[in-house]
Subunit: 342 residues, 2 copies
Amino acid sequence: MSRPTVNDLAKAAGVSLATIDRVLNSRPGVREQTIRRVNEAIERIGFVRDVTAANLARQRRYKFAFVLPDAPGEFVTLLRSAVNEAAAGPIVDRMDLTVATVPPNDPHFLVKTLRRLGASQIDGIAIFAPETPHVRDEIAHLKESGVAVVALVSDLPNTGRDHFVGIDNIAAGRTAGVLMGRFMREIRGSVLVLASSMQARANAERRLGFDQVMATQFGAIEVLPSLEGHNDPETIRRIISAVLDSRKDIAGIYSVGTGNGVLVDLLKEMGRDQDLVVIGHELTRNTRRALEDGVLDAVINQDTGHIARSALRVLRAKTDGIDILSSQERIRIEIIIRENLY
Amino acid sequence: MSRPTVNDLAKAAGVSLATIDRVLNSRPGVREQTIRRVNEAIERIGFVRDVTAANLARQRRYKFAFVLPDAPGEFVTLLRSAVNEAAAGPIVDRMDLTVATVPPNDPHFLVKTLRRLGASQIDGIAIFAPETPHVRDEIAHLKESGVAVVALVSDLPNTGRDHFVGIDNIAAGRTAGVLMGRFMREIRGSVLVLASSMQARANAERRLGFDQVMATQFGAIEVLPSLEGHNDPETIRRIISAVLDSRKDIAGIYSVGTGNGVLVDLLKEMGRDQDLVVIGHELTRNTRRALEDGVLDAVINQDTGHIARSALRVLRAKTDGIDILSSQERIRIEIIIRENLY
DNA sequence: ATTGACATGAGGTACGTACCTCATTTAGGA
DNA sequence: TCCTAAATGAGGTACGTACCTCATGTCAAT
């Protein structure tokens, strides 16, 4: 009934408390056969370390860091806010949390930041950055030092990171594609695709998923080549209005990334805010308003609050060597329309 | 920098540790002015009780119970599974969790169950049951005894419960309505509405939301009176096929509750599995398969895992007298199609 | 049998807080 | 001023575990 303690475990293994401590904390000076005996007793009586008591005894502070890009996009701002909100809640009990910002296209600076963090007795790092060979190497070093590493939003699949907290962007693009095709009354015409830059892996994956669905399920709709707005309002205005002016068959717009404020304003000015199917990503202040105004028909969202909390839970679990609850840590591809806004 | 302890607080308030203990734990024998002095010191130095250290000292076990209906529906089965899964995870540290089952239409048995739980030194109860005057009274008693009460899935708005963990079913119905209208290529014809029973408050609310949207945004679509299947496969088959046979203008089906297995099978048998827009609720094994097969076009879901964990977090927070993180505890109205299945 | 190195045990203190007992102080009334 | 009741302080033990020191035991080699 009651939870077995280290005293129970010592009795069960036939050793002293000091030996239990040595085995549990991998201290030197214990024979293999004694270690085996203790581990068997752990299985036998179902001993589970009381992590909160241990943290009290050792005055444990978990040192975690988020490494976020210093990018102009709204999503990063939202993510930073979410990290700050999580930092003010119960999840950070006994945690020291650092947020490090790196320029988005400077792998050298990123590596330097990771190195600095690695040298500061950090327990875990959540990284939102693209994968490069140097990043891969640095993460390998972190792993060797026993630092827990979580890839945030954008996976780092070849780095040996402990966990990925984010969505499958191909599936997100597919989701957008299905909604685009289903929301159109007639399967004809063309769809304009807007992205900040197709260099970003997430954007490329979303476009790929979108194309898959449009080609297989809505073949009579032509998906136009991606227009790159580079987060520049004037560029976005120029390229979008040029296409809308020259092609009369545009039936929908898929905005692959963030930065939807300019797009929404432009559609309103052109009087095209109610006749196109417009689908974007990420629930920001701009996309919220656009959903409410009916300019945006749906937003494919990943909840930054869930992402921030999940990263912290995973980092803590990895540091403590305990299991995570998979269903809790699976970030959803959320479809948001006006009626289910939250 | 470091977190103030009870020793720091004693110094700051100019009293002994024993007095601090008396004030913090509301023990008798402390003058009002001393209490005031301690509370001012708490504000001044930002003392926050270390709940985990206190729990260790007092060998605290939280005693929580879920009161669930013994109903034949899949959703309750899913919810029970979710509670069991949560019970196997880290969230139940120092918790004793009980699941009590009550017949769905027996308020008397429910009240008896609540009374029994209330008499067992329970700290908190999560209740999935309809609100009746007797239930209201019993919850009032529980509240008087300091028991935390969370309404689960179906709100108990006039009971003084501490928190509601669930979705707004009117908004869920509206969401279904928007998808129904948007997924139709032509705004005409009629929609068949299937419910287990319209007596259930959730079902009535969903139907209300659905009607609101259909009437205001898709007025040329006729929404038929609800058909009540009473969770009986034969009844469901009979009433659905009768309508589908007699009316050739049926363009969509809205299934308000659960129990979609029979509906899906029948549509397949009748060869109507690909030409209707079919929208249902709750992500169950049946609706998953139906989404994958293309019989169901969308499912409006509330994540039972999130609900179970949220209830436990809220009950624990209420018992400890600390704040909850609102954004974490807001249950989403999820739109699930095949591409964003999880 | 003796010695030395390694393994293990015993006992103590610490973490922040709860809770208990008994001694001391304080405040108010006669 | 004295007495009494109430308020407060002082000190100790407990929770489960970490971590330290030093004493004791074990084993292998000489």
